[in-house]
């Protein structure tokens, strides 16, 4: 498949701070998920793709055209930025029609498209309310509506699911998948793996401005599984509990907390450990107060991958 968006040796610095470092990436039609913790460089990458920032080194092309300083490419791109970016004193309908007019649509067509886009994101009833009165979820949806209202071939969505309730997320995921079925190219960023997983199997891992890995979900899952997990168990008798796991080969390390009630276990096979923990607790009759995974987040996985 031909790459719709192509980045070659892309680097961006903010003074002494590295935003993006030597990123080379081809994005093809379908959904590509850009996964990384906050501050990883996802938004910087998206802004470079949309020509809103000039790369210090390297180049980005969209359909073969250089993205920087070419506003014309926006006829075919829909961009949904992460932060709220509205005038509060206009209604949802006015907001969309204004932006559609800037795209070059005549007034009647802009009105019609705005109504359609509002309908798509279930905001038809709130179309004449001021954006000031919109809830966080509604704001997220109207931001998405402005990205799709002009029917773009390429959609760049920066954290589109943040701030949505579970139902809203499901609807938006269905909608984005619908756009994929129409053959569009969609780049979605998130710092939440399950969100990206629900959208696509094609994932790019980004951290500290670098592309760490790219591949399908099983590959990324394997990478994450290879990360040793820490699990903390607070119980009435941590030493008795530890004795139950002495012979378990999946456990790499066990330490005791200073409070005398906590057992911290390090394992590569988290799910297996949880199964055995239940059995051990029942067999020994130990009272467990709390089970937690202090490093069970994407950030620690990335840190592990970087060290690796």
């Amino acid at each position: 498949m031909t790459a719709v968006i192509s980045a070659v040796g892309l680097s961006k610095y903010y003074g002494n701070i590295l935003g993006l470092n030597d990123v080379t990436l081809d994005i093809e039609p379908g959904i590509t998920g850009l996964l990384g913790p906050n501050g990883a460089g996802k938004s910087t990458f998206m802004k470079l793709i949309t020509g809103q920032m000039k790369p210090n080194i390297g180049a980005v092309t969209v359909r073969g055209r250089r993205a920087w300083n070419d506003p014309g490419i926006f006829r075919g791109i829909g961009f949904c930025p992460e932060p709220d970016a509205f005038y509060e004193d206009v209604t949802g309908r006015e907001f969309l029609t204004g932006l559609l007019r800037l795209q070059g649509f005549p007034d009647a067509e802009a009105d019609e498209r705005a109504a359609r886009a509002l309908d798509v994101v279930d905001l038809a009833e709130a179309r004449d309310r001021l954006i000031r009165g919109y809830s966080r979820g509604m704001r997220q949806r109207i931001k998405f509506a402005q990205a799709v209202a002009h029917d773009p071939e390429i959609l760049i969505l920066d954290e589109p699911l943040s701030g949505l309730d579970p139902l809203g997320k499901r609807k938006l995921i269905k909608l984005i998948k619908g756009y994929r079925e129409q053959g569009r190219t969609i780049l979605v960023s998130s710092h939440v793996l399950p969100e990206i997983e629900a959208l696509t199997s094609r994932i790019v891992l980004i951290h500290q401005g670098k592309i760490l890995a790219q591949g399908d979900v099983p590959y990324i899952r394997d990478l994450i599984e290879s990360h040793p997990h820490q699990i903390s168990v607070t119980s009435s008798d941590p030493r008795a509990l530890a004795g139950r796991f002495i012979g378990d080969r999946s456990i790499q390390k066990m330490t005791f907390g200073e409070d005398g009630r906590t057992l911290v276990v390090e394992t590569h096979k988290r799910d297996e450990f949880f199964g055995r923990l239940t059995q051990a607790v029942l067999a020994a009759g130990i009272e467990v107060d709390e089970v937690s995974s202090p490093d069970d987040n994407l950030q620690s996985v990335f840190e592990y991958l970087v060290e690796k």
């Binding site: 498949m1 903010y14 701070i17 935003g19 039609p29 379908g30 938004s43 910087t44 802004k47 949309t50 020509g51 809103q52 920032m53 506003p71 014309g72 490419i73 926006f74 006829r75 791109i77 829909g78 961009f79 930025p81 932060p83 709220d84 970016a85 509205f86 005038y87 509060e88 004193d89 206009v90 006015e94 204004g98 932006l99 007019r101 800037l102 795209q103 070059g104 649509f105 005549p106 067509e109 402005q146 029917d151 756009y179 994929r180 079925e181 129409q182 053959g183 569009r184």
Partner: protein
């Protein structure tokens, strides 16, 4: 194996409007938003008062000879000639009202975009930085022209109508051009002035204070320096004084102060140039991540 998807969506068959001014929707929205503010509507209407007063003066001068005694001491209102127009375009009331209208209606043009982070939405359209600035400046220009060129030309027309002859026009055939020139001076200067101040803050109220603060501080500075140095050239520090100097020159009248009007023009032009540089630096498509 990769799934081959058929391109299922269809593009719109109509034609996109090839706007000569792609920024015009920005101007339209800016004007619309200004009228959403209650205080603005009141001030907008009140700003026509100077034009109305001058129109009354013009009417009295032509039609009601007997009433001239009632407005003794107001020669500049009833002696219709270039001086009358200089008075209209450079009187303190009009300049104050223009500043007030712009502070209320246009102070947030860029400040609001900076506050709401809307710049990236504008620049996610087929629109350049120049288009953005032109669209925003046109909002300010619209209001200033409404208080300068429109009443100025109407006053010329009413003079001819009330006089019932073209004698006035034949005597001063260049006057309509001067009216347009003075309008252009005020429009360009105030548009740059409000754009500059709107771009230096994300807070609307702060911009409001700056509009009057800078304007009157320049006048106060002029008066203090004149007291100290005893030279009219300190007028070059004052925004209103420079406007009055250039305004008089546009209508072929002697400037109120003994300073060449071209110097005042250079100061105003320099200010606009500085504003353009600041705007170019301040308006970025995206905020730099800190």
């Amino acid at each position: 194996m990769a799934v081959i998807r058929e391109k299922g969506y269809t593009h719109w068959d109509g034609r996109l409007v090839e706007r000569r001014f792609p920024w015009s929707p920005i101007t339209r929205t800016g004007i619309l938003l200004a009228f959403r503010k209650k205080r603005f509507k009141l001030v907008f209407a009140a700003t026509f008062v100077p034009a109305f007063v001058f129109l009354v003066g013009l009417y009295i001068s032509e039609r009601l000879e007997d009433f001239k005694a009632m407005i003794q001491g107001s020669d500049r209102l009833i002696n219709i000639g270039p001086k009358y127009f200089v008075s209209y375009f450079t009187n303190d009331s009009l300049l104050f009202m223009i500043a007030l209208v712009l502070a209320l209606g246009a102070g947030g043009l860029i400040a609001d975009d900076l506050r709401h982070g809307s710049l990236q939405l504008y620049f996610a359209r087929p629109l350049g930085k120049k288009d953005y600035i032109a669209g925003k400046m046109s909002v300010a220009a619209f209001f200033v022209l409404l208080y300068t060129a429109v009443p100025g030309l109407l006053l010329v027309i009413f003079k001819l109508v009330f006089a019932g002859s073209f004698e006035f026009f034949l005597k001063y055939p260049w006057l309509p051009l001067s009216v347009l020139g003075a309008s252009l001076l005020l429009t360009v200067f105030f548009a740059f002035y409000i754009m500059l101040l709107s771009s230096v803050s994300k807070n609307n109220r702060y911009v409001f204070v700056l509009v009057f603060g800078v304007y009157y501080f320049s006048e106060i500075l002029f008066n203090i320096l004149r007291g100290v140095f005893r030279t009219p050239y300190t007028a070059l520090f004052s925004i209103p004084a420079n406007i009055k100097q250039v305004g008089a020159a546009i209508f072929g009248q002697a400037p109120p102060l003994a300073v060449p009007a071209v110097w005042s023009f250079a100061v105003l032009a320099g200010f606009c140039g500085l504003a353009a540089v600041v705007l170019d630096r301040k308006i970025r498509s995206v905020e730099v991540i800190k």
